[in-house]
């Protein structure tokens, strides 16, 4: 099949970008979306033009490197699927696709579809961990954890930090990402000791990073490739309220 791509091209941060158009011909339905772009890029390279820059690495939907907006939807709108796992069999001959980077003040564009998501690392550094220095751990079975709790924690821990939630949110809120990490750690007995401190610190880092507030729209949950649920935001709000109250 043959597709028309309109792609955001921007040479570097701080300069003006524009949409440029390309034809993708001979697209095979078994290709992944990124493989389709690989072919377009090979052609561009042979013509001496700069290929379209996009972040990617594992191509198995787990590293969280890839992600851009296809026709207005982060990761292209296939339930639980990153762009690297999105296959061309879901598109039709003649489709016109608009590819844009994740847009948010906290995610400045570096080039084309590549954005700077280092704000996420800073949110984790502010408190998204359990302080367990190497060598200090008791036996793994010393503290039993109910299966249901471990499972819920794992549901939240599945977040890959791709940033689609921020891109989809009209407020560019990082609540789903932050809530997922807080749920992962706060639900576990190992994470309880630092729960209040963690919650307050991560919240304050989120504000510093120019992310917006959550207004319960739910776009984040709809695009999340790991299907992280909105309940992590509700739990974050509860944890936050409790931490504020108990801080006195």
């Amino acid at each position: 099949m043959k597709l028309t791509l309109h792609v955001w091209r921007q040479e570097r941060a701080g300069v003006e970008g524009r949409m440029a158009s390309y034809e993708a011909s001979d697209v095979n339905p078994d290709m992944s979306f990124l493989e389709m772009l690989d072919v377009v890029n090979e052609d561009l390279s042979m013509k001496g033009e700069a290929p379209i820059a996009f972040d990617h690495d594992c191509r198995e939907g787990i590293c969280g490197s890839c992600g851009f907006v296809i026709n207005g939807v982060a990761h292209g709108g296939h339930k639980g699927t990153t762009v690297c796992q999105l296959h061309m069999r879901h598109f039709s001959d003649g489709d016109v696709l608009y590819l844009e980077p994740f847009r948010a003040s906290a995610f400045p564009v570096i080039r084309d579809l590549v954005v700077d998501r280092s704000a996420f690392d800073r949110i984790i550094a502010s408190g998204g961990y359990v302080s367990a220095p190497t060598g200090s751990a008791p036996d793994g079975n010393a503290i039993p954890i109910a299966k249901e709790i471990a499972d819920r924690s794992m549901d939240a821990a599945a977040c890959i930090g791709c940033g689609a939630c921020v891109a989809a949110c009209p407020n560019a809120s990082a609540s789903l990402f932050t809530g997922a990490k807080l749920s992962h750690l706060n639900l576990l007995p190992q994470g309880r000791a630092e729960m209040r401190r963690r919650t307050l610190r991560m919240d304050s880092q989120v504000r510093e990073e120019l992310f917006g507030s959550c207004t319960n729209i739910g776009e984040c949950e709809a695009v999340c490739p790991k299907e992280i649920r909105l309940e992590v935001i509700a739990r974050m709000n509860r944890n936050y309220l409790l931490a504020r109250l108990l801080r006195g």
Partner: protein, 635 residues
């Protein structure tokens, strides 16, 4: 030259304890004055950087990805082994040690493997304390599953995302150190060369992948946790960015490269669908616990799986290996799949075998199967468009892991003093074949529990000497990196780096893949230098060196693969025996199993670069005092 493994003497059970006591310590006040560079932020790199930061060293950690959390350890699915014996099924440190030495086909160092098995139990404790949400039983204790090559249940897991959860644990510990100021994280930065001054590793030269600047970073020691080189085959289960450049540059600066031909082909990957294929996707080996592998009995049987009655199916692993069945080690399972496809009994494109869950669904119910493997089944369906609850999966072997890597001694130090190598990037623990769920174990053992001790010993014995960026040996390396980068940009030829990479990969897969022979290897040794020559004449790298240019990054990596591939073939040619993942067609038993030659090849082959000449081979003899080498049998 002689290789000194520095393995401690005395009983193996207490060797590591004794050795730790013998290692020198660095005064806490002095740690603050010592700089350590860690390259790579996967399980090995991140755990090392975090632990070194906790100890008080000044650490700089580098990764080419935009965040340390994206290193390819994240994609490991199945699990991590530990000799906890929580299942009371007879596991022990000695059994894990025994299984690993045997699984590695007696080509690893006993002392290293024993230490690994001992440390395995601490890793689980450490990860649980960090909040890794391992699978649990209803009583709240940790759950286990069995894995290929083992008859006990010792694998800990977090759904099919164990690597992700362990890496996030290490990444969070690392970010905690970043916040405390002990670690400086340098993402989107690629190591392009190693700085060696007065015979010691003293720093690295990097390219900032955003602004293109070539920079020098100096330190008192350098640690490489840069992963494996499976992408030399172009198609592999590695991430697209995984590369050999850091390790290869270290080799070119004098580090020995051990057993480069030991690569692992994973038996359960999704088959290739077309020429545009950019990578292969692994389906966790844990699927072999409940899935049954088969092909039609008759060659050329093109009927759909559902129309082939049971008596016309060949469950060839269960038939050939009745005691291990579908759980034979990876190398055995991969070769058996190749054999049935060579006989014309492959399914799908002809390069595939069925992995069938219908019996498991019947026995356990779809819900239980979904709980165990749901995310893997979803992934399979996303990629192939087929529902594995209804039709059998099609799988085929693919390059997945390399056991070879930089040679290191018991302290994980390479042959360049001050240069350490950890995780998949070194050659240390898996011999000629790695058992499932052992890569995560090794990466974390190296990073959390071995390197922090052994690095201290080196630093205590080699107090820092002043060094500045403009001294000649440092400046020379920086200039060489700049020249190489400019040269790549200036060629302006007619082929993309990807086209060279694909050609190299095909050649490596055909001649140095699942089965090798002298003729094919010699053919490859003739062709690779020609291809490399053409690359440097005819590659085209668009764009400039002064901003984000993924074509330039990629071309540099392909250039190094074009050199490494040759060394792999040379090593494979020299090793005139079959062992583990290295199967030489000339050396096999009457029933087609690998035939080792312990009399002549019981050694680790370390190769040393010599400018303009054939690399020098130095052998490290392997001795087995605890596990007597036998022909592996999984029948």
């Amino acid at each position: 030259m002689e290789l000194k493994s520095n393995c401690p003497s005395g009983p193996i059970e207490t060797a590591w304890e004794k050795h730790k006591f013998d290692l020198k310590l660095v005064n806490p006040a002095n740690k603050r004055k010592l700089d350590v560079i860690v390259v790579g932020s996967g399980l090995a790199g991140a755990s090392a950087a975090a632990s070194l930061g906790e100890l008080g060293y000044r650490v700089q950690c580098f990764c080419f990805q935009d965040s340390p959390r994206r290193a390819h350890s994240i994609a490991a699915q199945g699990g991590i082994n530990a000799a906890k014996n929580y299942q009371n099924d007879g596991d022990s440190v000695f059994r894990l040690f025994y299984d690993t030495v045997k699984g590695g086909d007696f080509r690893s160092r006993e002392a290293n493997v024993y230490r690994l098995a001992q440390i395995s139990v601490n890793i689980i404790d450490q990860c649980v304390a960090q909040g890794v949400p391992f699978a649990r039983d209803y009583g709240g204790t940790l759950a286990n599953r069995s894995f290929g090559g083992a008859q006990v249940s010792r694998t800990f897991y977090a759904r099919g995302q164990t690597g992700q959860q362990l890496l996030l644990g290490a990444y969070q510990a690392l970010e905690r150190q970043v916040a405390s100021g002990s670690v400086t994280m340098r993402p989107r930065t690629e190591m392009l060369d190693l700085i060696v001054v007065d015979g010691r590793a003293r720093g690295i030269v990097t390219r900032d992948l955003v602004d293109g600047k070539i920079r020098v970073h100096l330190a008192d020691a350098v640690v490489l946790g840069t992963g494996g080189y499976g992408n030399v085959f172009y198609l592999s289960t590695n991430a697209k960015g995984s590369n050999c450049t850091a390790a290869w540059r270290a080799y070119k600066r004098g580090a020995g490269f051990a057993n480069p031909c030991f690569s692992q082909i994973h038996p359960t990957c999704i088959p290739v669908s077309g020429e545009y294929q950019s990578k292969l996707t692994l389906m966790s080996e844990s699927l072999r616990n409940d899935g049954r592998i088969w092909v039609p009995r008759k060659a050329g049987d093109r009927r759909p799986a559902s129309e082939i009655p049971p008596e016309e199916r060949d469950y060839y692993l269960e038939r050939r290996y009745p005691s291990f069945g579908n759980l034979v080690p990876r190398d055995v399972a991969s070769r058996a799949a190749k054999a049935v496809c060579d006989e014309g009994r492959g399914v799908g494109t002809g390069l595939g075998v069925y992995l069938d869950f219908s019996d498991a669904v019947g026995r356990l119910g779809e819900q239980t199967v979904r709980e165990r493997y749901g995310n893997l089944f979803d992934m399979y369906e996303r990629i192939t468009g087929e529902n594995p609850y209804r039709v059998p999966m099609r799988i085929f072997p693919a390059v997945h892991y390399v056991m070879g890597g930089l040679w290191v001694d018991y302290d994980l130090m390479t042959t360049i003093p001050g240069l350490f190598c950890i995780g998949e990037a070194n050659f240390s623990d898996h011999g000629a074949n790695r058992l499932g769920a052992s890569a995560l174990m090794q990466g974390l053992a190296d990073g959390y529990f071995i390197l922090p001790y052994t690095l201290g010993d080196y630093l205590a014995k080699n107090p820092g000497t002043p060094l500045s960026e403009d001294e000649a040996p440092v400046e020379d390396v920086r200039r060489e990196v700049e020249e190489r980068t400019s040269r790549l940009l200036a060629i302006g030829g007619h082929r993309t780096a990807a086209s060279f990479h694909r050609e190299l990969g095909k050649l490596m897969w055909e001649e140095c893949g699942m089965a090798r022979n002298a003729q094919g290897l010699e053919r490859a040794l003739g062709k690779i230098p020609e291809l490399r020559e053409e690359f440097w004449q005819n590659v085209t790298v668009p764009g400039s060196g002064s901003d984000l240019n993924s074509s330039l990054e990629y071309a540099g990596r392909v250039a190094d693969f074009l050199e490494l591939g040759e060394l792999m073939c040379l090593d494979a040619l020299e090793r005139k025996e079959s062992c583990g993942g290295h199967f030489r067609e000339e050396y096999q038993t009457a029933d087609g199993e690998a035939l080792r030659d312990d009399a002549n090849f019981s050694f680790a082959a370390a190769w040393f670069h010599q400018e303009g000449r054939r690399p020098e081979l130095v052998r490290e003899p392997l001795e087995f005092a605890y596990v007597k080498p036998t022909q592996r049998s999984y029948k």
